[in-house]
């Protein structure tokens, strides 16, 4: 039926219904974030996927599930597209008849530009593109999003409010999204690698690995927290830790000898470049 005076993104009765087309890890992470933070009731979340494989995670959260993508569009006003990139065009074709001007379509699909999305969806659809990262699952994600041409400030504010449940969320120009991939999307893997290496060093020096891993992770967490909370430049924080002739400066020298900085820059550059390449296909 036709409902008068419906606010964008809101169902009659005022409760936001959020849908997920595609139920993989990233969709699960976002869903967990928004549900655990109480932004959306689990019962108001509907996820669709071709098989049951991924839907179990949503069911465990208390969300509803379906095998019908169009049903997600019919029941929800804010819909996350979280399919694999090569599947997206087909899915968009399938759901387009169900997309209205009141929908807010949020793509989480890597490498698919706003231009492509807008081309494959009905004219005038409000589209936003999001690049989250894995720690959304524990509500410590880093998320950037960009607006399509028909998405306004209200939609941006709504999305930001939702995704802030998952961690840091910032609106950016679309061109930053690939960089975000290189920095933070892939970046978590760099951190895992670094954590592994730290722990290995400790094991070499005689610490049991389980303890070393735990401490390594806590060290990264603590240091990151200090950057975020003090607002100090990391270079300043680094200098503050280095007592003259002490252990830290000796260790840092080793890192500099290994050109760690350049290597990390190379990694971010490689991932960003690859994201751009993939986005062009």
């Amino acid at each position: 039926g036709h409902v008068v005076g419906r606010r964008p993104g809101m169902e009659a009765g005022g409760e936001l219904r959020v849908g997920f087309v595609g139920a993989g890890r990233m969709a699960q992470g976002v869903a967990q974030g928004v549900v655990r933070a109480g932004k959306v009731k689990a019962a108001n979340v509907l996820a669709s996927a071709p098989s049951d494989r991924n839907l179990g995670a949503f069911q465990d959260l208390g969300c509803r599930t379906t095998h019908c993508n169009s049903e997600v569009l019919q029941r929800c006003s804010l819909v996350f597209l979280a399919t694999k990139p090569h599947l997206l065009p087909g899915v968009l074709q399938e759901i387009s008849p169900a997309v209205t001007r009141d929908h807010v379509i949020v793509s989480v699909v890597a490498g698919v530009t706003l231009q492509t999305l807008q081309q494959l969806l009905p004219v005038g659809t409000k589209v936003l593109r999001v690049m989250p990262n894995l720690p959304c699952v524990v509500q410590e994600g880093a998320v950037v999003f960009a607006r399509g041409s028909c998405a306004g400030e209200q939609e941006a504010a709504l999305l930001k409010s939702l995704l802030s449940a998952c961690g840091l969320c910032e609106e950016t120009p679309e061109s930053y999204i690939d960089i975000h991939t290189g920095l933070s999307g892939s970046g978590v893997a760099y951190v895992y690698l670094f954590a592994e290496a730290l722990a290995e060093g400790a094991v070499k020096m005689g610490m049991p690995s389980a303890l070393a891993n735990k401490i390594a992770a806590q060290t990264l967490l603590g240091a990151a927290k200090m950057i975020l909370e003090t607002g100090e430049h990391p270079a300043t924080l680094r200098s503050n830790v280095c007592t003259p002739g002490g252990t830290t400066i000796h260790a840092l020298h080793e890192l500099e000898k290994g050109a760690l900085r350049a290597t990390v820059m190379n990694a971010v550059e490689a991932a960003t470049t690859r994201a751009r390449e993939l986005g062009k296909r």
Binding site: P234, A235, T236, E256, A259, R261, A262, M265
Partner: protein, 341 residues
Amino acid sequence: MSGRHSPFAGAATWAAGPAGRAMSVGFIGAGQLAFALARGFTAAGILAAHKITASSPDTDLPTVSGLRKIGVNFTISNKETVKNSDVLFLAVKPPIIPFILDEIGSDIENRHIVVSCAAGVTISSIEKKLSAFCPTPKVIRCMTNTPVIVREGATVYATGTHAEVEDGKLLEQLMASVGFCTEVEEDLIDAVTGLSGSGPAYAFTALDALADGGVKMGLPRRLAVRLGAQALLGAAKMLLDSEQHPGQLKDNVCSPGGATIYALHFLESGGFRSLLINAVEASCIRTRELQHLADQEKVSPAAIKKTLLDKVKLESPSVSMASASKVSLFSSSWAPNSKKN
């Protein structure tokens, strides 16, 4: 207090020595260091040229004529320098120091402040040498660098056992007229040598290479040198004037995706930072090594310029040399033998 540019700088005000009269400064050695300091002091107006004496057995050094041109009193007699000075700079190479001390030791009086600028030469080694002649020699150890010549030196000093606070302050006043000067504990001086002592050489190397980069990209050499030097000068000045960490200042210059960040990536790839850390470390360690050699082991007299040795011998016949064998520089057994009557 430490600082740059003496509050007393100005043609009308000379630095005051003991008893308030204008101070006299002497340099044993008339090479690069003596010239740089003399030039700096006179340009700063803290010392009149005629109150400066410098001596060296070698009159052919280009710096000798430079010193004469400034109006400094030049002599071949180290003893004359000592007699005409209140503050006496030992501006000779480290291996020469012990010979000098033996030569002039008997002329050192209570008023003298002996300032050694020799890398790696400890206060205690100098005091030990001088104690044969003078019960309480005032010794200050100093590490400066060549930009004192343009009054942008970096100097640290450590005071010896018998140097009073005022003696340190007097030296500080002198050295602050030619750049930055501060007091430190003696055990930091080797690190200072590695950093600011050798530092100008690192900078000259960097500037040469930067100019090459400019030339490669089409700039005339002279312009490239000028611009490179000005860039480093300006950056250094910004850092000294700023509360910010150099990392922050760097960030301020690097616009996203711009030219500078691309260039910096190259520097990082080449291990630029670690090279500089290595350099400072190497210079500091080498300084300590040389000091250790001087203290513990023996240095062949052949390693010391023969003319200098001969001239030192002429001045003080009591200094005995076993020229065929190696010479121990700081063994205390020397002192009683060289004591003059």
